[in-house]
Symmetry: D2
Subunit: 375 residues, 4 copies
Amino acid sequence: MLPKISAFALLCGLFCALFAHDHGQRKIVFPDVPGYYTLKCDFHQHTVFSDGNVWPNIRVQEGLRDGLDAISVTDHIEYQPHLADIPHPDRNRSYEIAAKAAEGTELLVVRGAEITRGMPPGHCNAIFVEDVNKLMVEDPMEAFREAKKQGAFTFWNHPNWIAHRSDGIATLTDMHRTLIAEGLINGIEVVNEDTYSEEALRIGLDNNLTLMGTSDIHGLIDWDYNVPAGGHRPVTLVFAKERTFEAIREGLLAGRTVVWFNNTLVGREAYLKPLLVSSLSVSAGKALTNRDGATTVFEFEIENSSDANLIVENLSDFTLHQHANILVFPAHEKTRIQIKPRERKAVFQMKLTVLNAITAPDQHPELVLDLRLGE
Amino acid sequence: MLPKISAFALLCGLFCALFAHDHGQRKIVFPDVPGYYTLKCDFHQHTVFSDGNVWPNIRVQEGLRDGLDAISVTDHIEYQPHLADIPHPDRNRSYEIAAKAAEGTELLVVRGAEITRGMPPGHCNAIFVEDVNKLMVEDPMEAFREAKKQGAFTFWNHPNWIAHRSDGIATLTDMHRTLIAEGLINGIEVVNEDTYSEEALRIGLDNNLTLMGTSDIHGLIDWDYNVPAGGHRPVTLVFAKERTFEAIREGLLAGRTVVWFNNTLVGREAYLKPLLVSSLSVSAGKALTNRDGATTVFEFEIENSSDANLIVENLSDFTLHQHANILVFPAHEKTRIQIKPRERKAVFQMKLTVLNAITAPDQHPELVLDLRLGE
Amino acid sequence: MLPKISAFALLCGLFCALFAHDHGQRKIVFPDVPGYYTLKCDFHQHTVFSDGNVWPNIRVQEGLRDGLDAISVTDHIEYQPHLADIPHPDRNRSYEIAAKAAEGTELLVVRGAEITRGMPPGHCNAIFVEDVNKLMVEDPMEAFREAKKQGAFTFWNHPNWIAHRSDGIATLTDMHRTLIAEGLINGIEVVNEDTYSEEALRIGLDNNLTLMGTSDIHGLIDWDYNVPAGGHRPVTLVFAKERTFEAIREGLLAGRTVVWFNNTLVGREAYLKPLLVSSLSVSAGKALTNRDGATTVFEFEIENSSDANLIVENLSDFTLHQHANILVFPAHEKTRIQIKPRERKAVFQMKLTVLNAITAPDQHPELVLDLRLGE
Amino acid sequence: MLPKISAFALLCGLFCALFAHDHGQRKIVFPDVPGYYTLKCDFHQHTVFSDGNVWPNIRVQEGLRDGLDAISVTDHIEYQPHLADIPHPDRNRSYEIAAKAAEGTELLVVRGAEITRGMPPGHCNAIFVEDVNKLMVEDPMEAFREAKKQGAFTFWNHPNWIAHRSDGIATLTDMHRTLIAEGLINGIEVVNEDTYSEEALRIGLDNNLTLMGTSDIHGLIDWDYNVPAGGHRPVTLVFAKERTFEAIREGLLAGRTVVWFNNTLVGREAYLKPLLVSSLSVSAGKALTNRDGATTVFEFEIENSSDANLIVENLSDFTLHQHANILVFPAHEKTRIQIKPRERKAVFQMKLTVLNAITAPDQHPELVLDLRLGE
């Protein structure tokens, strides 16, 4: 009956690898940074109240399972394929149902909506609004102005969408420039669903727009993002002074975000670098020894407390005893490194670039880790 | 990828040996039996059109992912908590949406509804009806008669429900006896969601009711049944002459079902035994050898092509060389057995009882496998 | 990387079982019982000093990885296939090397040897001897007497071995009866490597012999027992008053053992029952509630702290709300059960039989668990 | 226990994402290259005949399980800690036993030995020799000359060993220069056990030495390299015209090798590039479509048939629709990429650098993949 035992061991394995996702492991985890909480947010989602396939309470449960801090259900206000069955004229309904479902939980549900228009300006989300119904006006500009009047944070959805750009290249139009100039568009999606746009990143950086990443989910998060297999939805990490609606809104308007999708982090260096530094902690090191005593090969443990498997390039003035210049610090693991500086010092500086972190097209942040010897 | 896939399948096989499926193998698999297709069905499910949380198309996608042959969305016709948002008066809507979503797939969507009443008679499902709206009548008896008039197959839901029976003991009332006598109730749930009722099984057997097992799903199958961890929803295996609506209806009315939940099979011996026999195939055996040549210890491989990890008791007149009297034939695996009959024969009969198969309270089917030696 | 491809991530999931095994999970775990430590022992192993393939220190490392308390390397004293390369005349060498390798660890290495003879009496192990060389005498009876003189515990190896019994049926000869009568054979292997002998169990019970299970390993434990896939070697659980050589010897001579192989436990009821009772703990229970308040359906959690996936049959005077009469308490898991006793009591008695525990051919121990309601 | 395993599962899933093997597929797999077989070899291993802990047949079985084409057991000829038990004077014994154990298998066992000396020159292996005993001479130079006379391929072991170099920095001595000049040292280990030496790589390239990677195993491969968790031993991939001893020797003397350790490949560009090109195959691509028809976003599948999870940087003149400039092609997986070239062409050239492939210190090979559209 060996197979049965094997079966059980494997069950444990799979149980943990998969079911563990229902026991905390699926939660998205990144450390806070100095001065700010790192809040995991998804501000682009749909329900049966527009073209989504679930009741709003499911979006809340998905958010809680993913360990999110804030979500918004942003149903289209013009596009209502289920209108025949759900004729309700109040466009705030999906928000209200989700907000009620989240009562008594830690999850913040932000009132929002998607303003669906042809190009330009295409699709945009307005969140932190007061009354979605008031956004239902003919003239796009008016809708944006109304949103701003309500104190909204507004962002341009999937500027790389092939339905609007057959080359998939995000490009600004005059109308976008006007909206940005008037402060009517505050952010831009560099990641939407399973797409990433280097051109949108360029536009965001050049126009001082907040960088956003969203799931734009219509079906189930678990299916569309292979959650049981270890996948995760794209999220926007917002660096906020508090765990409050207002603090998140402030963080978004201030552009303090990093986008997390697949195994890649995208953000301005000012926010991405602190996130990476906070993710890596180094244990006190020790010298390896041989028959003659201490050598000048030193061992340290670097712990990565983030969900990202960090792919790094060693740029230090010393080589490594067990790795080439490219190595990986796996998520939530301790990685042992041994350095060969040729001489003993109290502190060594490890200079590295994180290759799966993006601060601008083809640009990666450079970090310096202090490696300290123990007593 | 093939080597890894097969390795993966092997490991999955082992994993499956305890509690059913892993994520990659979530499809429910049981072999056909002589004369009938073994169709996997779930005839008790809810959507946003009553107290469920998903649009009907999600039920179709769940069914396809689980490898089901037929489903029914059986929304309550009296109980409509979402009425404020979904005022649609037509109780056929959820069926129509699901049926449309299933177009072009193998999945059969059966029109049905749940007739919610107080006790007696409690909750019942009517499936294979023509117009759900016509079931919305005051008098329960009338509703059942209308269902029958439409050609429905009707079954009593969760007779063990603690909301109706605070001792959880399924018990017939006079009204039930009348409904059964008039052929207005054809089946009974022995399994509903995560509950099993031995008393319901007794009632079903004593009153010639079709044995049913259903998910009664309101949320998501993946979450409520831990599918990523290898769990599965309860299903009713219907033995049907064809893969058609009419053949399923005929099979249900004829009582040809086996219920599959957790790692347990429940059904009348007449249907459960053929299912088990069809699930087990024996390879040609060979004698073990020692220095003097052939011994009278013989080795066979028994392959289990079902999803059930069969827990069996050996009742043969020989003992086993590697197992005690209780052993497991893991799902979708080959299990090697070595028998010690003390003498050589062309065919040996292995008599066994399948302990996780139930034909009546505390009763398990007895099988005889022919073990044949190869040339 | 990981998040992107589900098949890939799933494979990763599968590795977890394996990985876990290399990090503690492979250790064999059973609870102590009242009055005794439950010591995990393997007293039949080979090294390069007879027909094994590893240096004795590897046996020590395997034992430590498996979490064993005691082992013996029992190299054949007559059979020396490596004699040309290892001509050493001292038959204590493998013991001495293993004992040295175990210094500073918790593992107890018992001096022993295998006395290889034709049938009768076949192969026997003598452990707790003082000088293996003195066992090298012509007359088998003399060898046994010498072993006894040294204070040995002696047991009959694989009485079902097809090399000696072409029907695989363990059978006593007059010589065995004599040896037993003179106290020169104290134990018998009911499990050797991948075989189990019901007839050996019968002989052991009828002749008051200690029941033994051993790996008889020649190659690598990890390979022969599929440890990476969750398998484990057969072990003899010895119930000893202390973690000392003398206490183990005393426990063996007193017959206080249970054999653990695959997913089966074999032992005298006097020792197997306490082991099972110690393995199962029940949480304080609570009544399920419905609209009218408390029901008479009560929920408990049963935790299994052993490595055995216990297959149990419910023989109580109440039925279960979620299980049929056969259920499994998986190793190192909490299993939720709901009982339907029809009335409230402070304590309910759950009567069950553990089917994969064997106290005699086809006999299984019966336990009674007290299920207590919380405040 | 479950949470604990869950933790392992998470770590392990990630661990495995980086070192992709599973138990069922432990065999090391790399494709052949144009003109050569890619043979997996480990030419530095020990047994009980020097300071190893296993009989030579275990090295053969490990090699077969790892899918190796050739191995050598290179026991020290001067260092014999087990001499008291294994006094055999013939230093060819471990080879002879291993060769016999490999009879009837595909595995080629090469006669070899380790010449253990102080620094300089330190430790070297001589393989493809005719009689190991003849290498046992006083003067090191004589030993190398004898090896050469026998037609040996000789390489410098772990030049970074901290026992000989307390800074871990591989450095040539005059004696090494002489040995190299006389053709008495043909290769150098850039990888030994768990260490990698960038300086040894530099020395190897500058002095036209064959680049070697070996396990230097003394215990068990499965334990020292976490094989059950997906780890693998370091191997030298030799590009040989045939699967013969002579072809391997010729390939080694010609310097046609790539070293595979952890998730890194090290080799001269002339051999590493063909290996990578042979590892990647591209499916026929197709244009994505929107309402207006075909777009200029094109999708391809890139299959990686090697064991290496290739970490690549996109240097093409187009951006990707779903990835940033750094992406991973997981081992034995198909990876979907979508490119945005802004215009349609029959063939697109994807220019990329493989970051975990090393052709010289801090240098990575650059590849060009042709991406062809289907009909």
